[in-house]
């Protein structure tokens, strides 16, 4: 990656060195207890305060996962029975499948769309703030009840989507009540809310020093080469951050599934997200102990995937400070 000519080396910001540009190697920077450290704690303070409210339910749910709590009577300790039952629960397995498919399809597409749009907007379009807001707005509303209900109408058999398809001569199915397509409709909804990661990507793209691109142009690099050799590596921490956040969020999807299917996870369990099944177990079937066990399994799953990501990050993410 030696695309730097002798002259431009002098304009490198002092925090960067060529050593830092080698993937996988992080240069050591002395850590001081400067004002940055203190301000970090100040920003974390709301989270600490929130923790005070959630810490007791957190451990209560751990305790309840070893009981047969049915909401109406006192819980009885049953040990690992809940976890054993989870191993053979076919609906649990299918809810995991729904959640995994949803996550591993919508998150990559969502991130790619976010990055693509951020790249386009970074070219310096007039009215950038307007575009940015327009794209960001869906991600604020996307998880809301109103939008999901709206989605149900748009993708219904008589909805706008099918009417548009009819113009081209295609008779679309009901994207909402057909078990083969219901989940896809929710995936589209999740992708539509790519605005939040996009805004972060846009900010990150702004941080990439333009001189790298200039130097690359001098060396005759194409736009694609520039993307893969300059943009992606320098953006990798931000891509990593968005990936983790999106994964964690997607695994916990509830509202979209609940509203779209009226709480049933239908049609035919095709939108039965893990959290929705957990909710049904707890409130419809009065098996709150089992639901608590499910919650801890989800925590474990998310933890495992996050850990995998952190380990994998050593190979493709590098930080330049």
């Amino acid at each position: 990656m030696t695309v730097l000519a002798k002259d431009s080396r002098q304009t490198i910001p002092p925090t960067m060195s060529t050593e830092a540009l080698i993937p996988g190697r992080r240069s050591k920077k002395p850590r001081g207890k400067g004002p940055n450290q203190k301000s970090a704690y100040v920003f974390l303070l709301p989270w600490f305060i929130g923790m005070l409210f959630t810490i007791i339910p957190f451990f209560a749910s751990l305790y309840l996962s070893f009981t047969d709590y049915n909401l109406l009577e006192a819980p009885n300790w049953i040990g690992l029975d809940n976890f054993k039952e989870m191993m053979t629960d076919s609906r649990l397995a299918s809810s995991l499948e729904v959640t995994f498919v949803y996550t591993f399809v919508s998150v990559p597409i969502s991130l790619m769309a976010a990055l693509a749009v951020a790249l386009v907007l970074n070219q310096g379009i007039r009215g950038l703030p307007i575009y940015r807001s327009v794209f960001y707005l869906p991600s604020l509303l996307g998880g809301s009840v109103a939008i999901v209900m709206l989605w149900r109408y748009i993708f219904g058999y008589e909805g706008i989507v099918n009417k548009a398809l009819a113009v081209v001569g295609i008779q679309g199915p009901s994207w909402v009540s057909d078990p083969d397509f219901a989940l896809n409709t929710l995936i589209v909804l999740n992708v539509w809310t790519f605005g939040a990661p996009m805004v972060i990507f846009l900010a990150g793209l702004r941080q990439v020093p333009t001189m790298y691109y200039e130097a690359a142009s001098i060396d005759g690099a194409s736009a694609i080469r520039k993307f893969f050799s300059i943009t992606l590596p320098l953006m990798s921490p931000i891509i990593f951050f968005n990936l983790i956040m999106q994964l964690i969020g997607s695994f916990q999807t509830f509202t979209q599934g609940y509203v779209m299917s009226n709480g049933t996870g239908g049609p035919a369990d095709s939108t039965l997200f893990y959290n929705l099944y957990l909710y049904q177990k707890g409130f419809t079937e009065f098996e709150m102990g089992y639901a608590s066990a499910m919650a801890w399994l989800l925590l474990l799953i998310i933890g495992v995937f996050t850990a995998i990501n952190f380990v994998a990050a050593k190979f493709w993410v590098f930080y330049d400070n």
């Binding site: 109406l72 058999y157 909402v176 239908g266």
Partner: protein
């Protein structure tokens, strides 16, 4: 999640209410207005009691009720769905209303109504009103198509199928002959009884056989193939309000409904509906109809004021002035004197459904039993299996087997 929630504090502002009761129910704004009007009369008659009311849509209501019990703050008086009565009473969450003979008078209530909310002789739920299932048919459609409606007292399921197919054909497929929801257990219960079985038996087990379920599923499939029933995926929303029903939209000509909702459906459908009996009542093993509680009033076992709560239930059941406000919102009043006193005030449509029920009461009807614990899960299983059947993922035989297996497990747990 709480789509419709309202919290009103009724009462003439008496600051010295010695006792405050919580009353909760599910329903829409119309039901809330009528109930609150009745509550005001109760408070006038009982100056020491203030009633705080709250209501939600049915699904959020069920969740909130469970949460309130879990949190140790149950409402004093609540509307209890049939499906949930066993779940709550089995765990000692509800009070035995038989223990309040001074406050709650059940002397004129028919025995069959009392048994539908009693378990081992303990009255855990008192029916709010009576209802049953009927076929709501858009007569204008059949008149325009020149089809005569068969005699609903004697028609068979085959005749009903032929009738529905004829409607679809004569309207060039624009209006389906029927669009009843095959996954509502109260409809299946009537069909099951006609086959000589009980969906839920007296000893709280699943009594419907695989054969019966298979025939029920096969019937819908055949009707769908023949065009009398809408294609798969047609129903995108089930269980929505009468105003949004497919019957009101005019895309189907008939539907099964709880008869106490007849007025709402008829208003939404421009007054074109007639109310008929379900097919198969004659010529089967036995008649399938029963008069059912549409919902139940229950009192929490841990209520701080159980006597006052019982007084409230007594008012809701036996008071004629209160009934004049409540009318038939939750079914025909179970107290025959009260029912008679409000007849004159009922609209023509409500009188239709009252007549429907009183006609049925003249025959000897089978008893209906309390739903077992796990009934809510069974309802969900039925929906799920019906959807898989609808999209051809299961054959009727497989669907029947899956339903019976999973439902038995859900009740047995």
């Amino acid at each position: 999640m709480l789509v419709l929630t309202g919290c009103t504090s009724s009462g003439a502002g008496s600051a010295d209410g010695d006792v405050t009761l919580d009353l909760v129910w599910w329903g829409d704004t119309e039901r809330a207005a009528q109930t609150n009007a009745a509550i005001e009369i109760f408070e006038e008659k009982n100056p020491g009691i203030t009633v705080v009311t709250e209501y939600q849509d049915s699904a959020p209501y069920r969740d909130k009720l469970a949460t309130r019990f879990a949190g140790g703050n149950p409402p004093d008086v609540m509307a209890m769905p049939n499906r949930s009565l066993m779940e709550y009473s089995e765990r000692g969450a509800l009070a035995d209303l038989n223990e309040f003979p001074d406050q709650l008078d059940t002397s004129v209530i028919p025995e069959s109504v009392l048994t539908s909310g009693s378990i081992d002789g303990h009255l855990y739920g008192l029916a709010t009103g009576l209802t049953t299932i009927g076929v709501a048919l858009n007569k204008t459609v059949t008149d325009d198509a020149g089809i005569t409606i068969p005699n609903d007292l004697t028609w068979t399921w085959e005749e009903f199928a032929d009738f529905s197919i004829e409607i679809s054909e004569k309207t060039d497929g624009k209006i389906y002959g029927t669009g009843y929801n095959p996954s509502v257990e109260t409809y299946v219960m009537i069909y099951t009884r006609q086959q000589g079985e009980d969906f839920y038996t007296e000893d709280n087990k699943l009594g419907v056989s695989e054969t019966t379920m298979r025939n029920w599923f096969q019937y819908v499939n055949d009707l769908r193939d023949a065009g009398g029933y809408p294609r798969a995926g047609f129903f995108e929303q089930q269980g929505q309000s009468p105003a949004q029903s497919y019957l009101a939209l005019g895309t189907i000509a008939s539907q099964f409904i709880p008869v106490n909702n007849f007025q709402a459906y008829n208003e939404a459908s421009g007054g074109n509906l007639v109310l008929l009996r379900l097919p198969g009542e004659t010529g089967s093993e036995r008649a399938g109809y029963s008069i059912d509680p549409s919902q139940l009033w229950s009192v929490a076992a841990k209520s701080e004021h159980p006597e006052e709560a019982a007084l409230l239930v007594d008012f809701l059941t036996n008071d004629k002035e209160g009934a004049a406000e409540l009318l038939t919102q939750r079914g025909l009043p179970i107290n025959p004197d009260v029912a008679e006193s409000i007849t004159a005030q009922l609209s023509a449509d409500d009188q239709t459904f009252v007549g429907f029920i009183t006609d049925l009461q003249e025959s000897e009807l089978p008893s209906n039993y309390v739903y077992p614990a796990g009934a809510a899960t069974v309802a969900d299983i039925l929906i799920q299996v019906s959807t898989e059947l609808e999209f051809g993922r299961l054959t009727p035989a497989e669907a029947a087997k899956k339903f019976v297996t999973e439902a038995t497990a859900a009740i047995g747990e």
